[in-house]
């Protein structure tokens, strides 16, 4: 490295050092550069006091572990959808209401999934004769609407989740009352 560059590097290192040794003096040019540096770093510290170069620990661990609010939002929606689907599965599965004879509709594939054993269904003539029920269809449609609402508007998630829960409770009540 040529001597001029080496000297410049040394000068800039002193001018921009985090701290100088007690009693250390600077030549006038280095001191002038350091003035500008100190004025600027004071502004940086003032504008972002939590991020001073000497301080520690600003990125919350939850974020550092990959749980930013942006990323978590999608996860929350997925969780709600999964929880709701599991709840429906539980309600319908426990009551054994859904049968393979249900006509194709919004829950066609789900009806296949949630049905108990085919033998058990066949042994229950009333179930196999079950006609399409508009009440249940409406309830499922409402539930779907609430779920869509939750996906569209995360900020209104709590309200949507309440709506989903209400629908589920209503469906469960209707099922136990055999209104559907």
């Amino acid at each position: 490295m040529n001597p001029d560059r080496k000297q410049l590097e040394r000068r800039l290192e002193r001018a921009t050092a985090a701290r100088l040794a007690p009693g250390e003096t600077l030549d006038p040019e280095t001191a002038a550069l350091r003035e500008g540096w100190l004025a600027w770093t004071r502004l940086l510290d003032g504008a972002c006091p939590d991020l001073r170069a000497s301080e520690k620990g600003t990125v919350p661990l939850a974020r550092a572990n990959g749980f930013s609010s942006r990323r978590f939002r999608g996860g929350w929606q997925t969780f709600v959808a999964a929880a709701a689907a599991a709840s429906i599965a539980a309600v319908l599965g426990v009551t054994g209401l859904v049968t393979p004879n249900r006509q194709a509709g919004p829950v066609g594939p789900a009806a296949e999934t949630f049905t108990g054993s085919p033998g058990a269904t066949a042994a229950t003539p009333a179930a196999s004769d079950l006609a399409w029920d508009d009440g249940l269809d409406d309830a499922i449609a409402s539930f779907g609407q609430a779920l869509i609402e939750a996906r569209r508007s995360p900020s209104r998630l709590d309200g949507s989740f309440d709506a989903i829960q209400r629908r589920l409770q209503q469906m469960e009540q209707d099922l136990s009352d055999q209104e559907l």
Binding site: M1, R5, L8, E9, L12, E13, A15, T16, A18, A32, L33, E35, G36, W37, A39, W40, T41, L43, L44, G46, A47, C48, P49, D50, L51, R52, A53, E55, K56, G57, T58, V59, L61, R63, A64, N65, G66, S68, R70
Partner: protein, 177 residues
């Protein structure tokens, strides 16, 4: 600085990185983007990338320099995508609040004035000068490390630093006086 002890649990290890280097990385990103939300996301990406590459990392210089090099590359990528070096609305700095939270009107006004002056000072620097000076401040990197981080010869980095400091002095000291 080296990688934290491998004997620590993974979460503790990650937290140690954060404690040691989080402020420097985020400070650098925030000063360059002036967008706290963007800086947060980029900082997260920096740590995630470093974490993913932790087995391949070989100690060369400081670990903080390594993280800031990743940060700088992410910034360059972002800037290429956005076709701009820095964005921003000066008002964005207003969102940078101290952890203590509450601040009275007088302190808010003082903070606003600091933000205005900082923006003004940053305007006096070219994008490369900003990178050099911010890496020096937040990373406390040696100039050779800065040269490696931003992919410039050492002489160029020194030159940018020298001119940048001169511009800051002119803007913040001479003009103020």
């Amino acid at each position: 600085m080296t990688l934290p002890s491998p004997a620590l649990g993974q979460q503790e290890r990650f937290a140690e990185w954060d404690r040691e280097h989080g402020p420097a990385v985020r400070g650098y990103l925030l000063a360059m983007t002036r967008r706290p939300d963007v800086a947060d996301d980029l900082a997260q990406d920096v740590f995630c990338r470093a974490w993913e590459a932790r087995e391949r990392y070989r100690e060369q210089g400081s670990f903080r320099a390594y993280l800031l090099r990743i940060a700088d590359r992410l910034l360059v990528d972002r800037s290429r995508r956005a076709r701009r070096e820095v964005t921003l609305d000066p008002e964005d700095w207003q969102y940078v609040e101290p952890a203590s939270g509450a601040r009275g009107p007088a302190r808010a006004a003082a903070h606003g004035e600091q933000v205005r002056r900082l923006n003004d000072a940053l305007q006096a620097l070219s994008p490369v000068q900003q990178r050099v000076l911010l890496l020096r401040y937040y990373g406390q990197l040696r100039f050779a490390e800065i040269a490696e981080a931003i992919g410039c010869p050492l002489g160029t980095v020194l030159s940018h630093c020298h001119r940048g400091l001169g511009a800051l002095r002119a803007r913040l000291v001479e003009d103020a006086g």
